[in-house]
């Protein structure tokens, strides 16, 4: 028997519940209006370049990157800019958004809409990075870190490996899996383009072992690319964390406070690879993405190709409508996602899934006192002590938290998931991280 690779310590294995597995990616009808937030990525918000009343086309730049760590934003529809005003998004706060009324379906002329596979890429590394930045590509795994920044290897560091995260370790979500089944060639071309951009000749793709069809398909397809290797990984959450993935694939440990590039790696999501392919080979900006809409009581769990800015209510409608006893709507996966407070929030570049939890599953467990069972410490993939971090955060001992490496926490939620006393450890740890980050910023 082959021993599957994985990270050595911690992790949990929640029920997979991949209800929308194997469902073809459906295209959503054109919405009536879209609400496109100007802050859909990590870093500075983009700066709107359109005004109220302007006519825009699909793929037209509507907000320009607001700094190096920032991303361009393009219109996902053609129509008229109704207004630019704060609107509720998945953050739970009102943030500046561009609201466009849809009229017709007109594309920017330079976008190649055909399905033909373009394998050859004649651009050099800098041109690729520039194209990726122009087309507003961000990490589609959920963290939405601008891709061109990740692909720019800082001076003094060298990249040896490009690691592609095709793990999709979150339960319920199947968006990446389905994309891999439908667009394998495009994804592989996207991978080799990114490898060219950072100047590495080794690409490692990690796929969790619960997707045997994808592993088989990719192993077949990768033969024609001589630098791409496919690895099946053990099913364990959070296998898709970049540090866990690197540890599993090439057995290197990212130092505390460091980045993957410190061990010679650049990690990109498989969805990002497809977006890079479309941006570089087809000139298509990132204005739509695959979203899984699912849940225990959902009539028709689906994988949808949704335009950025579409209200999630339209996605839910296509999945058979909101089930009656829905207790929570979660944006993202069940482990790291966040509940939203209305159905009008828009799909953004970071929306990987919409989960509709029935009341029974939506309730938080009753909180008891810590029984010192140390399960949270056992499951923490980052070798932290969640119970200690929670207590320090609760007592506002921010400096102590820094010593306990709270900033290494990847917020995977394994501790809260496993706690038999129902203590929401991660909520407190996040609070500690936010406060500590504020203190660190004020030191500068």
């Amino acid at each position: 028997m082959i021993v599957l690779k994985t990270f050595p310590k911690g992790g949990v294995h929640p029920a997979e519940n991949k209800l929308s597995k194997g469902k073809k990616i459906e295209k959503l009808n054109m919405p009536e209006t879209v609400t496109i937030p100007i802050s859909q990525h990590i870093g500075a918000p983009a700066v709107p370049v359109v005004n109220k009343g302007d006519i825009v086309k699909i793929g037209q730049l509507i907000a320009k990157s607001g700094g190096f760590v920032s991303a361009n934003i393009h219109s996902s529809v053609s129509g008229k800019v109704l207004k630019i005003e704060p609107s509720m998004d998945a953050s739970g706060y009102k943030r500046m958004s561009i609201i466009i009324k849809v009229e017709g379906e007109e594309y920017e002329p330079d976008i190649d809409l055909s399905d033909t596979l373009v394998k050859e890429c004649s651009l050099n590394a800098d041109e690729i990075k520039k194209r990726i930045a122009d087309k507003g590509i961000v990490g589609l795994g959920g963290a939405t870190f601008p891709t061109h920044v990740k692909l720019s290897v800082p001076p003094g560091k060298t990249a040896e490996h490009l690691v592609i995260n095709a793990v999709e370790c979150e339960p319920y979500l199947t968006a990446d899996h389905q994309l891999m089944m439908e667009k394998p060639d495009e994804i592989l071309v996207g991978c080799s383009i990114m490898a060219k951009a950072i100047g590495v000749n080794k690409v490692l793709i990690g796929i969790e072992n619960n997707k045997p069809d994808a592993i088989k398909l990719f192993k077949e397809k990768a033969v024609s690319f001589n630098n791409i290797e496919i690895y099946a990984l053990k099913v364990k959450y959070p296998q898709g964390g970049e540090k866990q993935l690197i540890k599993a694939l090439i057995n290197r440990e990212v130092p505390s406070g460091g980045l993957p590039i410190d061990v010679g790696c650049v990690v990109q999501n498989v969805g990002t690879a497809f977006a890079v392919y479309e941006a570089v080979q087809k000139n298509k900006p990132l204005y739509e993405r695959v979203v899984t809409v699912t849940g225990k009581n959902v009539k028709n769990p689906v994988n949808l190709l949704a335009k950025v800015g579409t209200p999630i209510s339209e996605l839910i409608e296509l999945a058979g409508g909101l089930p009656e006893d829905t207790g929570k709507i979660v944006n993202g996966g069940p482990m790291m996602g966040k509940a939203v407070n209305n159905q009008q929030i828009p799909v953004t570049k970071g929306t990987s899934g919409i989960l509709l939890f029935p009341n029974k599953l939506a309730k938080r467990p009753k909180v008891y006192n810590c029984i010192r069972c140390s399960r949270c410490t056992h499951v923490c993939p980052m070798n932290l002590e969640p119970h200690l971090l929670k207590n320090l955060s609760n007592k506002a001992l921010w400096e102590e938290l820094e010593k306990e490496r709270v900033l290494d926490c990847i917020e995977c939620g394994s501790c809260s998931y496993t706690c038999p006393a129902g203590i929401p450890l991660l909520d407190y740890i996040r609070l500690g991280k936010a406060n500590l980050n504020r203190i660190i910023r004020s030191r500068k």
Partner: protein
């Protein structure tokens, strides 16, 4: 017998030798501490609330003794009385400061501000605020989970059961500012206590345009600017659709309170107005105010106007 003798001699000589060593060491490493620090510390309230910005009362006493003047040094818990005593002890000029009090600038009780979602996470404002805008449509308003109550060392703030909003006790509040720091929504502000504890302030921090603000909460400031025009002392400024009354400039004429269409401007501890033959609504309000005044002659209830 001999054993006892030897023991006594050896132990006593050891004691004497060690005493001599200790004496010289103590001489060598003597820490000279200004005796005035103890003196000043004795004058301070000893609550160690941190309202002065120093770590505890001794830290503040130390700072006072070392400082050339008492400028910028103030003990909010002790107030002017304490500071005068400190100034006298140190032979410096006292810096008088208007007494202040914490003011909660949100009046969004459940009947004014409908709940739109249910929050079931940890009962902490800071955690809830990190997750989303809150369980109502107003993302600026009070979350009511009591981080301010937790932060107060003087037991001067509590959550009103009916309104779900914090209420500051007029007598107990020392304006140390712990609640101001604790509030993740920046709702609580330190304002001058005012003559006879009379205060006027805008009880709202909603920076949305009038429409969404009013939709989310009946008593929101909609940024109409009526109060700005009405104010004869230029004490009111309007920024981001939100009025703010400068307590240094405000002369407590109450004209702004009358013109505010949503009732977002609150007056505290004023005697009831003389009834005016104006709109019916206002009369009803006045009657209510009068009833309140009749019920307790010493008006000290800060929660009352919020219920209106």
């Amino acid at each position: 017998m001999e054993i006892v003798l030897y023991t006594l001699i050896s132990l006593s000589s050891l004691g004497i030798i060690l005493a001599v060593i200790l004496f010289f060491v103590a001489q060598q490493f003597k820490v000279v501490e200004d005796p005035r620090i103890d003196e000043v510390e004795a004058l301070l309230p000893g609550a160690n609330c941190g309202g002065c910005g120093y770590p505890g009362c001794r830290g503040f006493a130390d700072a006072c003794v070392k400082a050339d003047s008492l400028d910028g040094l103030f003990c909010p818990a002790g107030g002017n009385e304490t500071m005068n005593a400190v100034a006298k002890a140190l032979g410096m000029a006292a810096v008088e400061k208007e007494p202040q009090i914490a003011v909660v600038r949100c009046a969004g009780a459940p009947e004014q501000r409908a709940k739109t979602s249910i929050y079931d996470g940890p009962q902490s404002c800071a955690i809830a605020a990190a997750l989303y805008g809150g369980d109502t449509d107003c993302p600026y308003g009070c979350l009511g989970l009591g981080d301010c109550v937790e932060a107060c060392t003087f037991d001067a703030i509590y959550i009103d059961e009916n309104t779900g909003l914090p209420v500051v006790s007029e007598e107990k509040c020392t304006a140390c500012g712990a609640c101001v720091t604790a509030c993740p929504k920046d709702i609580i502000e330190l304002r001058n206590k005012g003559k006879k504890s009379r205060r006027i302030y805008v009880s709202c921090v909603n920076k949305d345009k009038g429409g969404p603000a009013k939709k989310a909460c009946n008593v929101a400031c909609i940024g109409c600017g009526k109060c700005v025009k009405e104010c004869p002392f230029d004490a009111i400024t309007l920024e981001n659709f939100l009025a703010y009354i400068d307590y240094e400039k405000c002369k407590l004429c109450r004209k702004c309170v009358e013109v505010c269409p949503t009732g977002a401007i609150i007056e505290l501890n004023f005697p009831p107005r003389k009834p005016k033959p104006e709109k019916k609504e206002e009369n009803a309000d006045n009657e209510k105010a009068e009833n309140n005044a009749a019920a307790d002659t010493v008006i000290e209830n800060t929660s009352e106007p919020k219920n209106e």
